[in-house]
C-alpha cells in the first residue's frame, strides 16, 4: 500500500462506529445488573455476576495499551480489579473505560494497526499479533463473549434480557 504524508484513520473510524454501536447494548445489560446479585454465580467455577460485569466494563480500557503501547507486560502491572458497590458504580466504571477507549482510537492512524503487539509476563510471551487482530479479538470480540455470558446470568435471575443482535425472549419482538 502506498504511504502518503497525511495519515488517515479509516480503520479507527470503523472501530469507533462499531464500539459505539455495541456500547448501547453493553450499557443496557450493565444497567440491569443489581448490586444484590454481584456475588451470585451460576456454578462454583463461574465468575460471580459482579466480577463478570466489571470485566465486561474494564475490557474497554484494554483499547488504550493496544493502541498506545507495543505490549502489555503483566509483570510490570499492579492490577487491582475494580469492585463496584452499586450498579451506578459499575456503569460509571464502564463509561470511563469506554470514553478512554474512544479517545485513544481517535488518535490512532491507520499505519499503527499492522504493528506487532505482545502480551507477556516478563520473559513469557503469550502471543504476538498485529494490533488490528488484538483489537478485534482480544478486545472487541472478547467483550461480546463475556457480555453474552452475562446475558445468561440475567436470564437465570429473571432479569429481562435486552434485545441484543435481535429480539430476546423478553424484549424487542420483531
Amino acid at each position: 500500500m502506498a504511504t502518503t504524508a497525511t495519515s488517515t484513520n479509516n480503520i479507527a473510524s470503523a472501530l469507533i462506529a462499531e464500539l459505539e454501536n455495541e456500547a448501547k447494548t453493553t450499557r443496557a445489560v450493565l444497567e440491569r445488573v443489581p448490586a444484590d446479585k454481584f456475588d451470585w454465580k451460576p456454578h462454583e467455577k463461574s465468575m460471580p455476576m459482579g466480577r463478570l460485569a466489571t470485566h465486561v466494563a474494564e475490557m474497554h480500557g484494554w483499547t488504550n495499551p493496544t493502541v498506545e503501547q507495543p505490549e502489555l507486560d503483566f509483570a510490570k502491572m499492579d492490577y487491582k480489579p475494580f469492585e463496584p458497590k452499586t450498579t451506578a458504580d459499575l456503569v460509571q466504571h464502564f463509561e470511563e473505560a469506554y470514553a478512554g477507549a474512544i479517545a485513544s482510537l481517535k488518535n490512532a492512524p491507520d499505519e499503527i494497526w499492522h504493528e506487532p503487539w505482545s502480551l507477556r509476563n516478563g520473559e513469557t510471551i503469550y502471543f504476538t499479533m498485529p494490533k488490528i487482530a488484538v483489537m478485534r479479538s482480544m478486545v472487541l470480540n472478547h467483550i461480546v463473549h463475556h457480555r453474552g455470558q452475562l446475558s445468561v446470568y440475567l436470564r437465570l435471575n429473571d432479569i429481562p434480557v435486552p434485545a441484543m443482535y435481535g429480539p430476546s425472549a423478553d424484549e424487542g419482538q420483531m
Binding site: S137, H145, H146, R147, S151, V152, M164, Y165
Partner: protein, 164 residues
Amino acid sequence: MAIRDGFVKEVEQESVATRKILERIPPETFDWKPHEKSMSMQRLSVLVADMFGWLEFMIDQDELDFAKGYMQPQPRTTKELVDFFDEKLAAGLASLKNAEDGVFSETWTMRNGDTIYITLPKLDIVRQTINHMVHHRGQLSVFLRLKEIAVPPIYGPSADEGQM
C-alpha cells in the same frame, strides 16, 4: 490488503474455539435449557454452528427473506452438529474468499416479506455476524459449565483449561 483478508483470518481463528465447544456437547443435553425462556442447548448450538454459513448469502445475495423459508437442521448426534458447522463454515469462507472490496459497500437486507428488519452495508453485516456468533457462543459456554462440561479456553484460559 483486501477487506476479505482480515475477515477470513478472523473467521478461521474464531472457528477453532467454536468447533471445540460444539464437539463437547453430548446429545443427551440437547433438550436441556437453563431457564424456561432460554433456547435449548440444541437450538443454541445449531444457531452458533449455522452463523458463519450466513456469510454465504450475505456476500453472494442482497437479502434474506424469511417469508421464503429458512430451515435449520435438528442434529441427533454431536457429530451431526459438528458436521453441520464444518459445512456451513466452508460455505461462508468460500464466499468470503471470493469477495472483492466493492462487495462490502453493497447493501444487504433482512426481511419478512414486506417487513424490513435491517438494511446495512455488507461490511457492517459481516462484522455484526461475527460478533453475533461470539455472543451466542459466550452464552453456550455458560450452558456447558452448568452441565459440568469442561469449558475450553476461548480468549484466554477457562476455569477448566489452559491456565497461563
